[in-house]
Symmetry: C3
Subunit: 510 residues, 3 copies
Amino acid sequence: MTLPPAAKPVATGHVPPVATSADQAPAVHASRGREPLALHADRFFDPDSAVRSTARALYEDVAGLPIISPHGHVEPALLALNDPFPEPAALLLTPDHYIFRMLYSQGISMESLGIPTRDGTPVESDPRKAWQRFASHYHLFRGTPTGIWLDHELHELFGVRVKLNGDTADVIYDQIAERLASPEYRPRALFERFNIEVLATTDAASDDLAHHATLRADGLGSRVVPTFRPDAVLRVAQPAWRAALTSLESIIGRTIPNCASFVQVLAERRRFFASMGATATDHAVVDPYTAWCDAETLEHIFARALAGQATTADQRQFEAHMLMEMARLSTEDGLVMQLHPGSLRDHHEHVVRRFGPDKGADIPVATEYTRNLQALLNAYGAHPAFTLVLFTLDETTYARELAPIAGHYPAVRLGPPWWFHDSIDGMKRFRSQVTETAGLWNTTGFIDDTRAFCSIPARHDLARRMDANFLAQLVARHQIDMSDARVMARALAYDLARSTYRFGGSASAN
Amino acid sequence: MTLPPAAKPVATGHVPPVATSADQAPAVHASRGREPLALHADRFFDPDSAVRSTARALYEDVAGLPIISPHGHVEPALLALNDPFPEPAALLLTPDHYIFRMLYSQGISMESLGIPTRDGTPVESDPRKAWQRFASHYHLFRGTPTGIWLDHELHELFGVRVKLNGDTADVIYDQIAERLASPEYRPRALFERFNIEVLATTDAASDDLAHHATLRADGLGSRVVPTFRPDAVLRVAQPAWRAALTSLESIIGRTIPNCASFVQVLAERRRFFASMGATATDHAVVDPYTAWCDAETLEHIFARALAGQATTADQRQFEAHMLMEMARLSTEDGLVMQLHPGSLRDHHEHVVRRFGPDKGADIPVATEYTRNLQALLNAYGAHPAFTLVLFTLDETTYARELAPIAGHYPAVRLGPPWWFHDSIDGMKRFRSQVTETAGLWNTTGFIDDTRAFCSIPARHDLARRMDANFLAQLVARHQIDMSDARVMARALAYDLARSTYRFGGSASAN
Amino acid sequence: MTLPPAAKPVATGHVPPVATSADQAPAVHASRGREPLALHADRFFDPDSAVRSTARALYEDVAGLPIISPHGHVEPALLALNDPFPEPAALLLTPDHYIFRMLYSQGISMESLGIPTRDGTPVESDPRKAWQRFASHYHLFRGTPTGIWLDHELHELFGVRVKLNGDTADVIYDQIAERLASPEYRPRALFERFNIEVLATTDAASDDLAHHATLRADGLGSRVVPTFRPDAVLRVAQPAWRAALTSLESIIGRTIPNCASFVQVLAERRRFFASMGATATDHAVVDPYTAWCDAETLEHIFARALAGQATTADQRQFEAHMLMEMARLSTEDGLVMQLHPGSLRDHHEHVVRRFGPDKGADIPVATEYTRNLQALLNAYGAHPAFTLVLFTLDETTYARELAPIAGHYPAVRLGPPWWFHDSIDGMKRFRSQVTETAGLWNTTGFIDDTRAFCSIPARHDLARRMDANFLAQLVARHQIDMSDARVMARALAYDLARSTYRFGGSASAN
């Protein structure tokens, strides 16, 4: 603030009455009636006119390209069964931890939002009341990607033209509910309307892929594909491991007495997934530690695991070895290996006990790639049949470790800015910190990783805008020309994800 | 540089004479006479016209709001005694380690600047000479927030209209000295002129708060409040611990024989601080490690500490437990808990021996929050009466750890970009890396943390400008609209600090 | 993308045929004929008109200043012998790991590029074919600094006016080859044309500096100077250590029986380097750990090393101590100490075995400075004769550790954004994260660190543009004025490197 000139006498009466000034504040987050909701045609582009006009031109080139979604958490049952979506809260609020974690962080209980519990605690049963609580706190999402995606869904998918708030909650609820009742809003109709070329789901090693079989029977087999994610059977120190192994034994119809057999079964399951259309595996670990372990030690670990006595150290050694095995199998069956470390899951024990996993309490930790991945990269990082897609929640590794690794090892591609970083500024940081060392072609282009089916177009639209804006900045600074930029925009929006995940059939489309 | 076209013969004569070109350099940092000092009305805003005009509008809304300063190091004696400030060097130079560390880093000795020693080494006794040395090296502060604050103070508070340099040192010294002699420049007059609504000081657990009693008697009790900072009595392995404990025993008038008694005394002192207006506690640690420790072990550690034999490991365990206790007590007495880890204090032993602590040789270290805070957050992170404000000097934790933690746990609010990061680009990085995950309402808004009283308006002015600019960028990119932005600007400038620190009386004003 | 309004029936026919849309993609990276290659006069500047015009003015001031290159890997033989450069691939492609690592990362084998092997594996012997492979994949360098430097060299040095691609490879090869045959393209002619005032090479402790002797005899002794880099003789646990020590013994003509003698020899060699014009030493370590070690332990380590039995722990302790000794010797002989930690060399064992070191498989790791450097800084960080230049590959340390350290210790200067970070956005991050805490005068200004002689002007041009742009942003935001900016631009382009490395003779030119 500008102080009054010192020459003038200090007028203490000039100071606003302290209490008054604060108390006069309008109840700013209370309902504010009906304000228009509009999506600006140039939204998210830089205001500079040279950048904006170029960004718009690049965006318009790619806005209509089909969506490649090779990594996500949409339930295959959704598209296999094609049941109508339930009412708005069950569609948009209760399954999306991006949304209710923010409400929870501001003191709105998850019970009051109708999040189902697994310990029997009763929760709000009236979805309209839960929706009202959400709407009344919608201001919390200002400036967040979740807010952007929601506004996009409300505006584009449901035709909403007023901002969501406490006053408009009911009318918007009704409007969405009405749409959901029509056949045009069945999952498969939306799948076409969203222009999704391929969508990969995430499936346990023991999954029977029955829903994928249905989809194949219905002619959608090449467009909805499974992903092999064996995490549960690799975490030998977890209480849930035995049950996961039993499921695996059940699906293959034989017992798994030792580690050698275990690896054979995984290889077999991978081939089954591939036969059902899978082109990739997916692996979550805390540290991406990789190391071969000798067979004798492995069998001892496996025996301890069967006896329920595997330690955390055992699991570390076991996972490190199994990542090596997964890479080895990828060189044989051609499945792209995805590795996304660095999330300390279930940080808040009370939330996990009451609501289960994936409820907004997974907190990232610092992650090391250079030393941890050295064994795997030395073994397979230059294998012509191998592709390894690396994700991170630790942005400090973009420029320090990941871009140099991807800028050397032929097998490595960098996944997109992920999870918390799937955002406007997150994307800017990623491109800024990765491109100069790794270039564009050592990245996968955009991947959404969502469990909210209706947010897929919003997420890809945002990414296509941000990538267009990034390239427009390079054009405006005369780093690349428009001819280069058009190729690069298409690569980021479509080509790179398609070729990295081998949806065109070949591993080397680019 | 552009090379001459290769077709032309290489004219070696074209090469500038090597030595000459460098030696012709003007003595650029020497005195440069009288250049005007002006504060541009649009300073610090982006040059883009759309952003700038919006930023200006948002800034003008909040520029006149009262200042909330809930965390800082202004001495309560300053306002209690209301003595005139001494001459300019003692006001601006010698107490401010932000300034003399920079001069020291360029070879100007602290002795020559008149920084008092505690080992008896003589120092410059003529403040005008120290001021001259400072002024002659003022160019070092170009592009730094310290330079911005100083220019603001010189221009706004003291009416200086020429740039400080070796030539203008004397005239500016005289101008400031003259102002300081007038009653309008007494601390309390400035307190009103600065439009400070609340100012919190930082006080040891053993402090008698006598100056605060004076302020209360003079009707300033609700506007100058203490903060409970028990660091000294928690560092059981430090040589100074015994003296700190003795002070604590002295103020309560009884001995503290064991840890159980120690915790009771801390609870008692906290209640006394609260009765004197405190709304918060403050805790500095290197690592924010938290863990319960059993009573028996605690008593052994305390006994070793009393015997002068506590180890570093003892202190780590003791501090980890006491942070849990502090959180527990906060749920009872309602004091907001502030935690600011990550500074390795007293890095330069020679400086500490000669000049004492807080002399510019505290160097940050990498800091881990996710695992270290898990125990505390699991115990109290969802307690409705608890607020935990987290600070950091490790910006890598903004997006990776702090924003996800604040975006889940209801008790957590993120403090502002702190210390070295209380700067233009530091604020940009903070907002960019925190907002998309944690939103605005899981942050505290701006807090200054200064020990330089006269810099408070400059610091808040800079922050209000930068927050206005941040929001203007969102508006210009059509992420939020102007109606949203006005509410958000006010929240960052005033509402959030006031509600987080419970100055309105309620813990949930927002 | 914008979804069609929901009110309209979903037209599945609107979805582009999936396979077609992708397969229609033009073979975008294939040869694209002759597109013009131009260097825009305002390249790399922000598009905002206020920033751009100011940046241009600042850049024009410094564009013609001589180049100070105090740290790099140009072979002294190049200038001593002044032989013509060989054909284009041997000049631009095969010696530059910045280039072939990117090609390798996309599956182009190093053998096919003609990179020489040390295991006898045959490689492409036709440089024109290697060049063709490089040119056909030149799109990989879009958006990278390597691409910028290459375009600059092609355009400015060789007069190329079409973009390099598969179609233009041959004609450009011929154009470069023709130029290389002319006397104007001999190394010394280019040295003058590049306007290099001083160039430092990097030389082993055992180097006889014969080429430098030649250069001195030819009157270039003050312009091409050696740098003392004793890494090889400090790594006592490496298999190559004994041979390195033998070389050292050979050059001094006596055996080195113990550590005391070893330190004396190093001191002697340093004095010899200084007598040959060296003003600096250079030290690469993984962790910048420093600590004194007692003489007895040192002798035991040295004895184990002589016996080929030194351990990794021995080496860690030895290197930590020897960094202390190097600093101590710097206070005596005045050589500036350079320390660049954090690269895990030879990450890819296969590449090292076949091609040797420095082949693009050095991957950075997280680096800690605050604790590791404490011993050295406490001993010598305030010594008036000592200068320590710190480099990093871990950008997280810029704001957290390096700027606070440089902003306190008088001896410390921060080197430029280094290696992977010698790039447009790398420079932006460096200035943004360092300047506000350390100011400008605790940095060295730009330093290129290249082994590609012809890239030196391109690298300095890029840096001068980016520094001008950084300062122009400060001017446009009214943080500094144009008078300040001109001084600062010159400091970054020339003055700071010259004074830090004491090329003017004095340690305190600024």
